[in-house]
C-alpha cells in the first residue's frame, strides 16, 4: 500500500490529466491505468462560456483522490493561494507544491518550494512537494513534515527518463515518507526503473497523454509500476564481472 497522510492507495501510479487528445481517450486511459490519484491544475473560468466541458465532471469522484497542483506559481505566496483555492472546492486536502523557477528547464525554485511547503503544512494540507533531485533539499522538505517527496526524474514533459538514478537512490534511501518520482518519465521502462530503485510511486502525464495510443500506454505504465515494485521487493541479484552458468556443469552427456 502507498500511504500518504491519512490516505492509503493500492495503486502506485499517479496520473496527470493534461494534454490528452480528447475526453473519451482520457477517461479510458485513466480507467485502464488503475490510478487512484489524479492531478489537476487550477485556472480561471471563461465566464462568458457556460458550457465548458470539464474532465472533472466525467469522473466518479468517489473512486479518485484529487491532487491539485500549484502549477503557474512562481512564488510561495502564489502557490499557497492556488492551494487554498483548490481546497475551497471541498473536494481535496492534498496538494502538489509546484513552484517553477526556470522557464527553460521548468525546474522548481527550491527556496520558494520550501517556503510554500512550510506554509501549507501549517495550514493543515497534505503536502507533496515537487522537487529536483537535490538530496539535501529533499531532506529539508521531509524535515518540515512533507507527506511525500516528489523528485523529478528529468525535466517536465521531456520524456528523458531517469537521468540521475544515483541521486534518486540517495533520496529514496534517506526518506521515510513516500518518494514519488515525478516528471520526465518517457516510457514504461523508465517507470519500472524508478520503482526498481525503490521509489514508492511514479507520477506521470505526458508519457501517457502524448503516446500514440494513450490507453495502451496507460496499461503499460500500470504493469511497469507493478513489475518494478515486485522486482524491488524480490531483490535483484548482484551484478558480476564474469559469467556464471545457469545449467549444471556436472553430468554432461558428452563423449
Amino acid at each position: 500500500m502507498l500511504n500518504i497522510g491519512h490516505y492509503s492507495f493500492s495503486s502506485r501510479l499517479l496520473l496527470g490529466t493534461g494534454k490528452y487528445p480528447d475526453f473519451k481517450t482520457q477517461k479510458e486511459a485513466v480507467e485502464v491505468s488503475g490510478s487512484e490519484i489524479l492531478t489537476f491544475a487550477v485556472r480561471r473560468m471563461n465566464i462568458f462560456e457556460a458550457s465548458q466541458p470539464n474532465f472533472l465532471e466525467m469522473l466518479d469522484l468517489k473512486k479518485y483522490t484529487l491532487l491539485p497542483n500549484t502549477a503557474g506559481a512562481k512564488t510561495a505566496a502564489e502557490a499557497v493561494r492556488i492551494a487554498k483555492l483548490a481546497k475551497a472546492s471541498g473536494l481535496c486536502d492534498m496538494v502538489k507544491v509546484e513552484v517553477i523557477g526556470c522557464d527553460k528547464t521548468l525546474l522548481p525554485d527550491p527556496v520558494e518550494t520550501l517556503k510554500a511547503t512550510e506554509e501549507l503544512l501549517k495550514e493543515g494540507f497534505i503536502v507533496l512537494p515537487y522537487t529536483s533531485d537535490d538530496v539535501v533539499l529533499a531532506r529539508r522538505l521531509e524535515e518540515l513534515g512533507s507527506h511525500a517527496i516528489m523528485p523529478a526524474a528529468s525535466p517536465i514533459g521531456s520524456g528523458q527518463g531517469i537521468i540521475n538514478p544515483l541521486y534518486l537512490k540517495f533520496i529514496i534511501e534517506q526518506t521515510k515518507v513516500p518518494v514519488i518520482v515525478d516528471a520526465g518519465i518517457g516510457s514504461a521502462s523508465d517507470a519500472m526503473i524508478a520503482m526498481e530503485l525503490g521509489a514508492d510511486g511514479v507520477l506521470l502525464n505526458t508519457a501517457v497523454a502524448g503516446a500514440k495510443n494513450p490507453v495502451k500506454m496507460a496499461l503499460a505504465m500500470k504493469m511497469a509500476v507493478e513489475a518494478g515494485q515486485l522486482g524491488y521487493e524480490a531483490g535483484r541479484i548482484p551484478r558480476k564481472e564474469t559469467a556464471t552458468a545457469s545449467s549444471p556443469l556436472e553430468g554432461l552427456s558428452v563423449k
Partner: protein, 67 residues
C-alpha cells in the same frame, strides 16, 4: 452593478446578491467553480451566504487538466 470578474469589467443585474446568484446568472452553477472575492477565498459551501456588491473584484476558477 459593475463587477471585476477574472480581470474583466462585467455588468450584472443589481438583483444578484450572492456568489451563488452570480454563478446562476453566468450559467456556471452546475460546475465546480471556486470563488475569491476581493482576495478572500470562499469555501464552496459558503457561496450562498457570500454577498457581492458593486466594484467587487471576483476571481472564478476551476480544475483543469494538468500534471
Amino acid at each position: 452593478m459593475k463587477l471585476m470578474i477574472n480581470g474583466e469589467e462585467v455588468m450584472v443585474p443589481n438583483s444578484l446578491q450572492s456568489i451563488t446568484d452570480l454563478l446562476k446568472h453566468l450559467n456556471l452553477h452546475d460546475q465546480v467553480v471556486i470563488a475569491e472575492v476581493n482576495e478572500d477565498i470562499i469555501d464552496n459551501q459558503k457561496q450562498r451566504e457570500t454577498q457581492i456588491k458593486e466594484n467587487d473584484k471576483i476571481e472564478l476558477v476551476r480544475f483543469v487538466g494538468g500534471g
